[in-house]
């Protein structure tokens, strides 16, 4: 990698925004490279659909490209992107509900009773398998959480945001964040204990 490429990759946020406002394509490529995975995970956490998450995040970047001129650097770029992604994902869910395409949970998964085991030790094939099974089980339960609860849980888990930051990001009260997280955890804990 040459020096200019290295410089481009380590570009400061303010400079990146400035370049984006000028419509420079390489700046846009850096933006995508930097935030793609993070936004994909948020979208996936909310929609639980791989293809739709991909489309949503593409739309987010297109929308950022169109509206970057209106972005004031009072908020962080990361926070702005996160907010757009959450909104797009929630809107997608609404459209999704209208289309009556609710995701189907196989019956086998319903009956599955998983015993929780903490996978702290180095994974051998057996523990790796158990880990994957546990992931599947958790995802099945997360699917059942109400959308509002799941959004809070996603921001807490993937983004590591504080209760205040989640509240600010979603425009809700800190107490609401706490209670939604509590609901999510209580429900998940009950399912792994049953």
């Amino acid at each position: 990698m040459n020096n200019s490429a290295v410089h481009r990759d380590n570009i400061e946020e303010a400079e990146l925004v400035e370049r984006l406002k000028r419509g420079q394509e390489w700046a846009f490529a850096i933006l995508v490279k930097k935030y793609r995975m993070q936004l994909l995970k948020i979208a996936y956490g909310i929609t639980l659909d791989r293809e739709e998450s991909c489309e949503i995040v593409q739309d987010v970047f297109v929308s950022v490209h169109k509206n970057i001129k209106n972005f004031r650097q009072e908020a962080s770029l990361k926070g702005w992107l996160r907010k757009i992604t959450v909104n797009h994902s929630l809107n997608w869910k609404r459209k999704f509900k209208r289309r009556f395409r609710w995701s189907h949970t196989p019956l086998e998964q319903e009956d599955e009773k998983m015993q929780y085991t903490v996978q702290k030790e180095k994974k051998n094939p057996e523990t790796a398998y158990q880990g994957k099974e546990f992931e599947k089980f958790v995802m099945g339960r997360i699917k059942k959480l109400p959308e509002k609860v799941r959004v809070v849980f996603v921001l807490n888990t993937f983004e590591g945001l504080s209760y205040d930051e989640i509240a600010q990001s979603l425009g809700i009260k800190k107490g609401t964040v706490k209670s939604r997280l509590h609901t999510a955890r209580k429900s998940l804990l009950e399912s792994i204990r049953s």
Partner: protein, 156 residues
């Protein structure tokens, strides 16, 4: 049957996992969790759920090709057609020299078409048969579309 802690509830344990406890509460709970098996189990379970969710999402999203994603989103944002259309467009692009060559070819074909004999039924016809007698003559002429028979008489 799982043990339950009588001192701390799920809300406090959640706050501990999320690093939301104040300094005093944090010290107190950190000491407690060392000795309370029930609380330690809940902490482990909550962290396990977090890790499982993160890992599942990461595995799912890793399978999305970053290059394809980038080119697709760049094309959408900069109003560009996908690469294959670009190549096709480039190939068919009307460069001046190509324009002139195209016009010349069209003109050439048109001239050849109109200069061909017999086209449109206006060219010379073939005499298929003719009969001459003292009284009259008969001639059959064939064009592309029809056959004509011409008969004429001698008046003498």
């Amino acid at each position: 049957m799982e043990k339950k802690c009588s001192q701390y509830n799920l809300e406090t344990i959640s706050a501990f996992v999320d690093k939301e406890l104040g300094p005093k509460q944090l010290d107190k709970f950190a000491c407690h969790v060392e000795t309370c098996e029930a609380c330690r189990l809940v902490v482990d379970q909550l962290q396990g759920i977090k890790e499982a969710f993160k890992s599942a999402a990461e595995d799912e999203m890793k399978s999305i090709d970053s290059q394809v994603f980038l080119s697709s989103v760049t094309a959408k944002s900069f109003n560009r057609k996908p690469a294959i259309f670009e190549k096709l467009k480039e190939y068919l692009s009307p460069k001046p020299i190509l324009k002139i060559a195209t016009i010349a070819v069209i003109l050439g074909f048109s001239l050849m078409y109109f200069r061909q004999p017999g086209i449109n039924g206006i060219g010379p016809s073939a005499i298929v048969n003719s009969v001459d007698t003292n009284m009259s003559s008969v001639m059959i002429i064939e064009t592309i579309e029809t056959k004509h028979t011409i008969i004429w008489f001698t008046e003498t």
